[in-house]
Amino acid sequence: MKFDIVVVGAGPAGSSAAITAAKGGAKVLLLERGPEPGSKNVSGAMIRLDDFSSVYDVSSIPIERKVKNVDLILLSDSNRTRISVNVESNLATAARLKLDKWMAQQAEKAGAILITKTTVLGVEREGNEYKVETDRGEVRADRVVLAEGVNALVSMKANIRPDLTPDNAVQTVKEVYSLNKDEVNKRFGFKADDEGVSWRILGTDPVPYAGFLYVYKDAIAIGAGIPMKILIKRKITPYTVLDEVKERLGLNDLVKGASLREYSAKVIPEYGFPSWKACSGKVYLAGDAIGLVDPLTFNGIGPAVASGVVAGKASLESYECSKYESELMKNREVRRVVNGRPLVKELVEEENFKYYVKTINDLLHGWVYSDFSKVKLDTSKLLKHLLLGIGVFKS
């Protein structure tokens, strides 16, 4: 079988590439290894609704709840601070199985053909076309989009990019507890069934981690991401860290009586494009496959959709690599992740991370007690990171 474009992976990046190319009139095949789109995918899933509107019909987007508050929780050894940011619109929680299925369905409606339960094993150039080898046989295409997520085996095998290392990967674990809707509303004090909240937790003990809590319609998701090199160095497992987080935040009480419905894990990339190539010949990479996640906020779906759209366009119009990579850099979502990397790299360093969580905690506690004697300002550190931060805000 021969297609204009084969897209590997029906996650946010792949479906966005497929719908873009299919809308442009190309004959598109979207291949997904899971039994259905989303069934292999893990994320918190706080989404920004605006991220989808450029390519999808968002009137039918399957959200769980609208996020009314994002709570930032800082936990250092001695202090705890909680800041609640009121959200006017645009943020929602979504479950990946429903969200990814919805995106893939819209790609199908636009004319793409979706085949699931099929894992792509490799892509090889043969003359002017590509042979896409799968565990169910081979297909051919003029152009290929690799939107295979963080474990980009095909992109690595084709030598387009290297593997991640423990220095630039975060390991996350997540638990989902199910409860009925009324009980969820009661425990969080929600006044309506569609009201929701997200927590972002930055903690320093027993090791530095970034935690999260998301509220689904009838479930609560809790998770934590820990830099992989810290797990290795401290010889601690990710679930031990998550258990500690739950303990320290009293989350066991919050989910009391609820049953654990799902336990999952996934790596988050902290490195990638433009240090890595995003393209080779007429093969275009997008999303987590080129590391487009902000690891401090776990925002990866927005950049995946945005880069997927660019890849869809690139495959439709047969971009040269230089053009594809410059179009990626022109995209705001992509640029934000890329420009944030130097700062993120600094902030996830154990010493810096601990410093900021503790200092912000001490500052706020100092303000409350009107006693700033505990606050230790490291001006050279602050200045360095401020300068890096300005680069992010300007992008």
Binding site: A45, V176, R261, V267
Partner: protein, 95 residues
């Protein structure tokens, strides 16, 4: 709750063919000398897939949640890491 109990919440369809394998057991011995126990693959795995028994890594591949961490963590690139075939392995409800 033990990890093994948490894993019971997952829907698995087992691929009869293991999707994970140790390439060279001698490298794991070396790894133990250098890193001690638990070795990196054991520390990062959320599903207790790897155990160090009688100076060998034993793999319970059917517990794997397909996160990808062990491959990245292994300092000797000693894990042959593939996806289960035909979409077998885990299937999540929430994700």
């Amino acid at each position: 709750m033990r990890v093994e109990e948490k894993l019971y919440t997952l829907r698995y369809k087992k691929d009869e063919q293991p999707h994970l394998a140790i390439i060279d057991p001698n490298k794991c011995l070396k790894c133990e000398e250098v890193n001690g126990v638990p070795q990196p693959c054991i520390s990062v795995c959320p599903a207790n897939v790897y155990s160090w028994i009688n100076q060998r890594i034993v793999i319970s591949y059917e517990n794997c949640v397909e996160c990808g961490a062990c491959r990245i963590a292994c300092p000797y690139s000693n894990i042959s890491w593939k996806y289960p075939r035909y979409g077998l392995g885990i299937a999540l409800r929430y994700g």
